[in-house]
């Protein structure tokens, strides 16, 4: 049993699960014990073998057919926008209107909060304001292009480029 415990500890060392101090002690003891060193090498090689060699199987269906089944599922089930709304019960039901009122108070009393029309929530911390009622916007970032895009959707705002 003691031998198994030691083997499991050695395995934890190989898997990077030992605290630093114990890992250092294990590294030292390995230098002195050939049998343990052999077990260590075996564990390490099987670990490396698995890590680099996961089989990637192609889905045995066409892209269109596979997607069509997902699409049906998406259409059938509602999107969970807020977590836990369906689980509210008892006193928690009271918390919603009270919390909402509190939030509204903060919204109106805070000098700058919530004055941004239909600001996009996609890029948190990158404030966007679209003050016109008929305008919405959303932002996204492409790391590969090192580019932040704010896409503005508005009725009547055309010909900005041509100036016609």
């Amino acid at each position: 049993m003691k031998e198994l415990d030691h083997a499991l500890k050695l395995q934890a060392y190989v898997d990077g699960e030992l605290p630093d101090r114990e890992a250092r002690a294990m590294a030292e003891s390995l230098k002195r014990d050939e049998r343990q060193q052999a077990l260590h090498d075996g564990l390490r090689s099987i670990k490396a073998l698995l890590r680099d060699n996961e089989l990637e199987l192609p889905v045995p269906e066409t892209r269109e057919f596979y997607w069509s089944q997902i699409q049906r599922g998406i259409a059938a089930e509602p999107v969970q926008r807020a977590s836990g709304a369906g689980l509210l019960s008892g006193w928690l039901r009271w918390l919603v209107p009270v919390g909402a009122t509190a939030l509204l108070c903060v919204y109106w009393l805070w000098p700058t909060a919530g004055r941004s029309g239909s600001a996009s929530g996609l890029l948190v911390g990158h404030e966007i304001e679209t003050p016109l009622a008929e305008t919405t916007s959303f932002a996204f970032r492409s790391e590969s292009a090192a580019m932040t895009v704010v896409w503005v959707e508005t009725r009547g705002l055309h010909n900005l480029a041509s100036g016609e």
Partner: protein, 153 residues
């Protein structure tokens, strides 16, 4: 007298070092040079009768990396400076203006005006090589882009 102890040698060295450390983007304390381009994107051919040129290859490739329009034409190209905690308003076309304010190091607030009304305001950090693109649909499945970046004149 050896070369190393000649005063003129050291004067040249200091001048060289000073020159190497000179950053045209930061010409004055906190002042930055920016470039804004107004770009029109289309899948169609280049419109006749208009003096349009294709946008530079670097900008086109960046836009093509994200969007699917085939052609990107430069309508206007404006180089301008914004002082530290200062602001600049730049006319991109008769209908489109931008206002760029420097809020702090590398942080800007950009406002886009269409026909005099503020359409969108965005706060953004901009570092060398980074692009801020304000964009939207135009008529007939075309689009406009205002591309803003730090610039070394």
């Amino acid at each position: 007298m050896s070369t190393l102890i000649r005063p003129t040698f050291w004067a040249w060295v200091l001048l060289g070092l000073g020159w190497a450390g000179f950053d045209p983007v930061q010409a004055q304390e906190g002042e930055v040079d920016l470039l804004a381009q107004l770009v029109w994107a289309t899948d169609g051919a280049k419109p006749t009768g208009k003096d349009l040129k294709e946008v530079d290859a670097a900008t086109r490739d960046k836009l093509r990396g994200v969007f699917r329009w085939k052609g990107y034409f430069e309508i206007a190209r404006k180089e301008f400076k914004v002082a530290a905690t200062g602001m600049a308003r730049v006319r991109m076309s008769s209908k489109c203006e931008i206002e760029v304010e420097q809020l702090g190091k590398e942080t800007f607030e950009v406002k886009l005006f269409g026909e005099g009304k503020m359409v969108v305001k965005k706060r953004q950090t901009l570092q060398s090589g980074e692009l801020l693109v304000l964009a939207g649909d135009d008529k007939n499945d075309t689009a406009w882009f205002v591309v803003i970046r730090l610039h070394k004149p």
